[in-house]
């Protein structure tokens, strides 16, 4: 399943943590019609670069699909950032 939510946590020096839930599903809903509109152009660009557009779309979709459960965390006494994709 493609990721629906990303949780971004930001921590400052005073140990206050700001947690932001990013509803990725809204982003996908916005990008789908845009992608459909731009697909002929993207298709031509891929062909011009001699890249199989179907394969490129397939790999892009697989990467998007596999993003689930990705976690990235940096922690320092002065600040911390954490990004989790669900």
């Amino acid at each position: 399943m493609i990721p629906f939510v990303a949780v971004v946590s930001l921590r400052g020096r005073k140990s206050r943590t700001l947690r932001i839930w990013v509803p990725l599903i809204l982003l996908w809903l916005f990008l789908v019609p845009l992608g459909v509109l731009l697909s002929p152009l993207v298709f031509i660009v891929f062909l011009a670069c001699r890249v199989n557009p179907f394969r490129a779309f397939s790999v892009g979709w697989q990467i998007l699909y596999a993003l689930n459960d990705t976690e990235f965390e940096i922690d320092h006494p002065s600040a911390g950032v954490s990004i989790c994709v669900f």
Partner: protein, 147 residues
């Protein structure tokens, strides 16, 4: 009887090790934790790891404290990522090959097949990298493993 125990007994029967050594080796085998990778492979059902974990722990003397980086990448994402190599246009692949040869590395990127990449990802399950570096004022620990 698992494979390791059989090997120990075989070495004992061949006279390569003494009875005491065999006993010690078997005791060491039994002391292993139940969830160790060896035991899992013995049962024949080795679980495929789901994530690649990278942990970096860096500490500077005289600074505020340690910096920790913790990255968890799904293996599925690595699998999809390596497929991007198949999308490299032939001209770019040729230029990359030329650059690699100029560096004296006998490697041809065009020889990489999707099945090779799959195999590479599969072999990552046994990967474990531990780097422990200590400079004048800096201590860095890097751990890469699959889970």
């Amino acid at each position: 009887m698992n494979e390791h125990r059989r090997q120990i007994l075989q070495m004992l029967s061949e006279g390569k090790i003494s009875a005491d050594e065999a006993e010690r080796l078997i005791a060491a085998l039994e002391e292993r934790p139940a969830g160790s990778s060896e035991n899992v492979s013995d049962s024949g059902a080795k679980a495929r790891p789901k994530y690649l974990r990278v942990q970096v722990d860096s500490e500077d003397d005289g600074h505020e404290g340690p910096t920790k980086v913790n990255v968890r990448v799904p293996m599925q994402l690595l699998r999809a990522g390596v497929k991007l190599a198949g999308l490299i246009p032939p001209q770019a692949l040729h230029r990359a090959n030329v650059a690699i040869h100029e560096k004296g590395i006998p490697f041809d990127l065009s020889q990489i097949k999707p099945e090779n990449l799959e195999e590479l990802i599969d072999q990552l399950s046994d990967l474990s990298v531990d780097v422990d570096q200590k400079d004048h004022a800096t201590k860095v620990k890097v751990k890469v493993f699959c889970e």
